[in-house]
């Protein structure tokens, strides 16, 4: 009996650890293929850059430098990427970008790791 409780607990723990690892890997972009990552980086610099600047210093859209995003959680940023900001020129990218990809792009912006 005790042994089976331990084994259940162990399984839960394993699941938790695996879950944590999975979410961490999503943040690191590991759920996204290398070639897709390259396309997304290019999209971030070149296409997001059309409005936000190739160096994210702003344009028609606001600057997206890490120092200016300090109080913005990744979830908030990825929600804006996916659904846009109605009433502004920021479109909803959901038809072109998955939620996991949007989270990864948000983490790149927060870390300022564009190149």
């Amino acid at each position: 009996m005790i042994r089976s409780i331990w084994s259940v607990l162990f399984r839960i723990e394993t699941a938790l650890v695996l879950g944590l690892m999975l979410s961490a890997s999503l943040h690191a972009g590991e759920g996204i293929s290398a070639s897709r990552q390259q396309d997304l980086r290019n999209l971030l610099i070149q296409d997001c850059g059309s409005c936000h600047g190739l160096r994210m210093k702003g344009g028609l859209g606001p600057a997206l430098l890490p120092s200016m995003l300090r109080d913005k959680p990744a979830e908030y940023l990825s929600a804006i990427i996916l659904d846009g900001r109605p009433g502004t020129a920021m479109p909803a990218w959901r038809p072109l970008i998955s939620p996991a990809e949007a989270r990864w792009l948000a983490s790149l912006l927060l870390q300022g790791e564009l190149q």
């Binding site: 070149q46 296409d47 059309s50 409005c51 190739l54 702003g58 028609l60 020129a89 479109p91």
Partner: protein, 388 residues
């Protein structure tokens, strides 16, 4: 023993020879990936040189001095650079703002104006030295906010015309007296003007609106009659599609009495009758149009598109008002520039790091030039056209 006089003569001849070519078949293409531009020529369709160190060139644009020797490059980071395209030298450069979007050269060629996002306004420079001549902050409202400035063009009478994205205004700046510029303001022209163009005769200034349907029209021959709204209800009641890149209105596509402009949020090119300013048609196209540009003879209109359709070009026959050809030059077709008489067109294919040249009659590719994330292409024929 060779006399010093002979050496002097030889040096003089050599220096003359170094520049002994016209610039009428030359141009530049922006390489936004490497803060550089390539100097090109259209007689042999080759790249002749590269100039580096031009800063952030996203959305960079170029105007030419009236002798078509100097290219003024407007960078995103507020950099204004003057490049000698014969010697491939950067002859002057100034960081004139934090964030800019484009520029224009005056009718007499002596002034270069830049439209700025931050701080919002227009700055005017001496075309020779790039010294500041006038600073026009785009302030609006009771608390004197500053607006981003878009759609800056030159107009006859030593004027510059531009629109205020945040304020919904058109301003006409008269630089006849450099020490005391005149400003005429037109308010409530519509929400979020995103770009503008001027007709080749310099008479009509037309502003595209992002925040609502339709366009705003100012007749510069009759400015007292004010700004008129045209195409107020194109696509009214239809759901707008997401716009992944702001359309551009530079490059007025005119064929006879018809003008062709991109619809915003719709996969259509709009046709305007320029006598009545009424809509004369809607042409279904492959995606959200970005540039809608007429071949110089007006017989064809070439259209490129926003993501996810930016690998495609469609060609509209202006008599049939229908798409007659579709090309797939490659991923990220950003810009098109026709050679002055229209037999060939240059296309930048950003994501594949090359520029393609097509024959506009056979639609066959005639040459390829490697380039680093190429965007805008600007030929010197622009030097002699109003609004370019």
């Amino acid at each position: 023993m060779i006399s010093p006089r002979y050496w002097l003569l030889l040096c003089l001849l050599l220096s003359l020879n170094a520049h002994s070519r016209g610039t009428g078949d030359m141009g530049v293409l922006i390489e936004r990936g490497s803060s550089s531009l390539q100097i090109i020529e259209t007689s042999g369709n080759t790249s002749v040189n590269r100039v580096v160190g031009l800063g952030d060139l996203s959305h960079a644009s170029v105007v030419y001095s009236r002798d078509a020797r100097f290219a003024y490059v407007f960078g995103r980071d507020g950099g204004l650079s003057k490049v000698d395209i014969l010697s491939a030298e950067l002859t002057a450069r100034t960081m004139q703002s934090g964030n800019s979007i484009g520029g224009a050269i005056s009718q007499d060629g002596r002034l270069v104006a830049v439209s700025n996002y931050s701080p919002g306004g227009v700055k005017v420079f001496d075309a020779d030295t790039l010294k500041l001549v006038a600073d026009i902050p785009a302030t609006f409202g009771a608390d004197q906010q500053r607006s981003k400035v878009v759609g800056l063009v030159d107009a006859p009478g030593q004027k510059f015309v531009f629109a205020l994205w945040d304020a919904g205004e058109i301003w006409v700046l008269d630089m006849t007296d450099q020490s005391s510029p005149g400003i005429e303001k037109y308010r409530d022209i519509g929400r979020n003007p995103y770009d503008a163009l001027i007709t080749p005769d310099g008479r009509y200034y037309i502003v595209g609106l992002f925040g609502e349907d339709g366009m705003a029209l100012l007749d510069l021959w009759n400015p007292s009659s004010g700004v008129k709204r045209i195409l107020p209800d194109y696509g009214k009641g239809e759901k707008k599609l997401p716009v992944y890149k702001m359309p551009h209105l530079e490059g007025w596509a005119v064929a006879g009495d018809l003008a062709f402009v991109p619809a915003v949020g719709r996969h259509e090119v709009l046709v305007i009758n320029m006598r009545t300013w009424q809509q004369a048609g809607r042409i279904k196209v492959h995606g959200q149009p970005i540039f809608v540009m007429a071949r110089p003879d007006g017989r064809q209109v070439w259209v490129n598109f926003a993501l996810p359709d930016n690998d495609t070009i469609q060609i509209i026959d202006t008599q049939k008002l229908a798409v007659i050809q579709q090309l797939k030059p490659g991923k990220g077709v950003l810009h098109m520039e026709f050679e002055p008489r229209g037999e060939e067109v240059w296309l930048s294919v950003r994501d594949e790091d090359r520029v393609e040249i097509y024959d506009t009659r056979t639609f066959k590719r005639t040459a390829t030039i490697p380039a680093i994330k190429p965007s805008g292409i600007f030929l010197t024929a622009r030097a002699h056209r109003i609004g370019l």
